[in-house]
Point group: C2
Chain length 219, copies 2
DNA sequence: AATTTCAGTGCACGTATGTACACTGAAATT
DNA sequence: AATTTCAGTGTACATACGTGCACTGAAATT
């Protein structure tokens, strides 16, 4: 949002440290506040006043940024989804050692964006509102993208799309289980961490082993 | 107030159509009320007053049955877990056509005890309190039991326990994904229903196919 | 028949909530 | 320099919440 060219004054071009930028900063503070409070509670149990206080503003000022907590939730979902998409982009750039590097990428991103992933998982499975539905759709899209990627792999090239989607869904389910495992442990528990990564790799290996013997077409 | 179990009279044993039974009935009403309210919301957003009203009693009478909403939640978890265990027992009594009948059993029970399964899934993934932890433990136990069962199957008899647990976790993850799918659709949508069952069977088939080629290595 | 027990009632309280309203003061525009 | 804009403040109110306390009345015990 660095479009300063449209501002009419010359002064604004040099150093616009203010107003719009300040508003964005407060907005971010609200999102961060919510994300921090969500550490050990569900989104539904979050109050507008709490979030406002955590962000350092008075309750009524909340409305300068969001019309309701629900709207804040949707914004938070979008922000979190950006994390997910970013991860997917990283994972896609792999040529060899597919399983190791995929799990590694997942592990890295969950570590770095723990709060975002926690929010996604919690709202997808525990939530009920518009937020949960938005996330569900996004995850379905993710699985579809994965199916397309899978179609490029050796041995899967002539699979029917139905089977590819089934495989993609299964992989996503396995990955989600891994995310859940990672979120369950303390972030600094290196031992448990390594164990989960190991199991995640084995899970994927077993799945691909099954895929290599899969007889596509009508069974 | 404390020792309730020591009923000294014989009369209480024979046929007490009242008092204790009446209390149990109200207790059940509270559990049912909560379960009904949980249809489209999370447990955390449930208030004591709401549940009491739905059950047809005054708020303060709630305490005659549970010390807190949290305690009610744990009781609800236990009740729901009984549904799960019942399902597992049914599934275990299968000799042939393992995959078909397992998926069939799962499908049946989710249909019949939709509210219970919804509660389990939501609280496991969306919750945070003592309830969520209790469910997590129970699901781990379930996976361990499954690992023991798997050890009796042809081709898996000499697998190391680590690999068996990995396989069991993967199966549970696949099953949970299926439960989520079933909970997402309308209960009377027969077409979507059948599609989910079909995909669930394929998922399991692929997993067992992978297992049949798995080389249980000692790491 | 007299007494005790206790599930359920009714009231009262302090606290937290969402949000309406009038405001302030500095940045932005004129 | 005068004016407008608007993110953030402060007060206020109706509502919902958890829960303490004194109670009622029928079942259970004596």
């Amino acid at each position: 949002m660095g479009d300063r060219a449209s501002s009419l004054t010359l002064a604004a071009v040099t150093e616009s440290i203010t107003r719009q930028e300040r508003k964005q900063r407060t907005r971010k503070a609200l999102l961060d506040a919510a994300l921090e409070l969500l550490d050990d509670r569900g989104f539904a149990s979050l109050s507008l006043r709490e979030v406002a206080k955590q962000a350092g503003i008075v309750p009524t000022a909340f409305y300068r940024h969001f019309a309701s907590m629900d709207e804040l939730g949707v914004a938070l979902a979008e922000e979190s989804m950006r994390s997910l998409r970013h991860m997917i982009r990283s994972a896609r750039q792999t040529s060899s050692k597919l399983i190791e590097s995929s799990v590694h990428t997942l592990h890295e991103h969950v570590r770095a964006q723990r709060a975002h992933f926690r929010f996604i998982v919690r709202e997808r499975y525990g939530g009920t509102g518009a937020v949960a539905r938005a996330i569900a759709v996004e995850l379905k899209l993710f699985a579809s993208d994965l199916a397309v990627d899978l179609a490029r792999l050796d041995g899967l090239r002539e699979w029917p799309t139905d089977d590819l989607h089934m495989l993609a869904d299964l992989i996503v389910a396995a990955m989600l289980a891994t995310v859940l495992d990672l979120l369950d442990i303390r972030p600094d528990d290196a031992e448990a961490d390594a164990a989960i990564v190991h199991i995640a790799q084995q899970r994927l290996r077993l799945i691909f082993l099954g895929a290599s013997r899969w007889r596509p077409s009508v069974s």
